[in-house]
């Protein structure tokens, strides 16, 4: 008789215990999956919200005057565009979401405006993430609210800059800031309009340092970037950087504390059920030993059941967790929640980890079954 058949028949016979055990695993898996997914969603939301606040790291030409840069909001000096490629290819990176920028003042309808050319977001190798801002296509323009009003342009109209036509694809809502007077175009178009081919005056980025409060991220980033791009300097917007680091630390510590605690609780739950099951099956195990079944069969019966319990629990838990997160994420994270997607790899890992943890948790019960002397059991009965 096959072991799996024996396991399945025993599960059918003692289904309440199996169901309770699997229920515990399901709750734990759902909670872990929910926390992980919400952690991921929170990070995404943070990234998106902070994108609106702005990048926290600005890499500008070394010869730029930092004070003038701060007063003006951008550097008038330029540096080669290929620096961004060097930063992307550097292997010990502490930054991400790199966007090369070229900005310059232009005149539109007799009044000043700010032209901002943005490259597509670039990511260092192995750090690909969803971009924080939409990519601007070539020959298209996004207009600030006030500027669009001044020029009488709306979505679908054509804006002409330095005799080059640009389709207006978006008019930004009013922000009450310099953005209201800005024209966003693709970096290559800005280089053409401003006559600065292959030049940029800034690389915007986000630092990825998870530092303790006593560490100085500015120094670390400057040291790292000076090795890769000596012709650049770093301006760190420390308030944004600190706020982002705090937010990330808070979410990380929540996930790092809650998930292991839930796993331990679920493992204890499974261990107790496995132990009760072995106690219930004391005589049955003794009889199987008397019939000549070896210790490996007995261990397989206990651990096989634990594996199935973990598998059933994790499958139910994944469904529960997915349902919960899907139904709540848009409400919890109003900005990015609508586009949230589960990471299938993480779900697969959860699906496989739960049965393995259930087996490990049942090892003690399996040992109890193995050390139990069948002669004693049969004599007592």
């Amino acid at each position: 008789m096959r072991i799996i058949s024996l396991i399945l028949k025993e599960i059918t016979h003692r289904w309440p215990g199996f169901l309770l055990g699997a229920f515990g695993v399901a709750i734990a898996v759902a909670a872990c999956q929910g926390i992980s997914a919400l952690h991921e969603a929170a990070q995404r939301e943070t990234r998106r919200v902070q994108r609106d606040i702005g990048f926290n790291m600005r890499i500008i030409p070394r010869e730029a005057d930092p004070e003038r840069f701060l007063i003006q909001g951008y550097s008038t000096e330029t540096m080669p565009e290929e620096i961004i490629q060097r930063l992307v290819e550097h292997d010990t990176v502490a930054y991400n979401h790199l966007v090369a920028t070229l900005q310059g003042e232009i005149e539109l309808a007799g009044k000043p405006a700010l032209l901002t050319g943005l490259s597509p977001t670039m990511f260092p190798a192995g750090k690909k993430k969803p971009p924080m801002s939409p990519t601007i296509k070539e020959e298209t323009a996004h207009l600030g609210h006030r500027l669009a009003g001044r020029l009488g342009l709306k979505k679908g109209d054509t804006l002409t800059l330095a005799e080059l036509p640009f389709e207006v694809v978006r008019v930004a809502p009013q922000s009450g800031s310099l953005d209201d007077l800005r024209v966003w175009v693709h970096l290559s178009d800005a280089q053409k309009v401003l006559g600065k081919a292959g030049q940029i005056n800034e690389i915007q980025a986000i630092d990825c340092l998870c530092l303790t409060p006593d560490e100085n991220p500015g120094e670390l980033l400057r040291a790292e970037i000076s090795k890769v791009a000596p012709e650049a300097q770093v301006a760190l917007l420390s308030k944004i950087a600190t706020a982002r680091a705090r937010q990330r630390r808070m979410m990380d510590s929540l996930a790092q504390t809650a998930v292991p605690a839930i796993i331990v609780a679920a493992a204890l739950w499974v261990a107790v059920f496995a132990w009760i099951n072995v106690r219930q099956r004391k005589l049955e195990i003794g009889v199987l030993r008397a019939l000549g079944h070896p210790a490996s069969t007995i261990a397989s019966l206990i651990l096989g059941k634990a594996f199935l319990l973990g598998l059933a629990g994790s499958a139910i838990g994944c469904l529960l967790g997915s349902w919960f997160v899907t139904s709540r994420v848009a409400e919890i994270f109003p900005v990015t929640g609508g586009k949230f997607q589960f990471e299938m790899n993480a779900m697969l890992v959860t699906l496989m980890a739960a049965p393995i943890i259930a087996c490990l948790a049942s090892c003690l019960a399996a040992s109890l079954a193995l050390v139990q002397d069948p002669a004693v059991v049969l004599r007592e009965e």
Binding site: H13, V287, L291, G292, P294, A295
Partner: protein, 235 residues
Amino acid sequence: MLSCEQVSKTYRTSRGQIPVLCGVSLELAKGECVVVSGPSGCGKTTLMLTLGNMLQPDQGRVLFEGTDIYTMSAPERSNFRNTKLGFIFQNFHLIPYLNVLDNVAVAVRTRQVEQNDFTKLLTRLRLDHRLNHKPAALSTGEQQRVAIARALVNQPRVILADEPTGNLDEENSAEVYQVLSEFRDQGGSVVIVSHRTDSHPTANRVLNLRDGQFAALDQNNRPEPQKTEQPANTS
């Protein structure tokens, strides 16, 4: 075929040592049925478990065809129990969640049993109409017949039966003895442990176990008075 030589066993409990078997020797020939009788607590079950390679004696040897069965490795011992021995328990010890067929099939591990052999065996034991029933749905007699089928399915050389008719009425008891007689007649050996000293139609010999030792029986199969050195109160 199966023998034990000067086997002694003492249980060590928190309340002290309890000697159960004190130098017991037994020789079981091929095709022989031996009944070991005695009062409760005299060591009958301990002897059966010792003969069944389940309980290692403190002293003495248990031999099967000349091999000391307690010198075998754990897997060898499992194989030995599976292929050479069949156990029948007073309380049947059927697995509650398996039907009749599975309760018999669960004993099959190392050898291939043809469906035809299963059918023949279960028909012989009048269980062919109960194959899909679980133990709870069977009568006491049927449960014991399932336990006997489980003991016979591997075609063992020796059957060790602990009070096989203890819970049965006369009719079912007679049927059990009939099956054991057939097994013996086909060359199998049987050890039956029972608290009763009479009515063992299968038995070639009846041995009386008292206080951990075999005692002689009188002409009426009653144990003769014996000098007892140490009391035993655990079976």
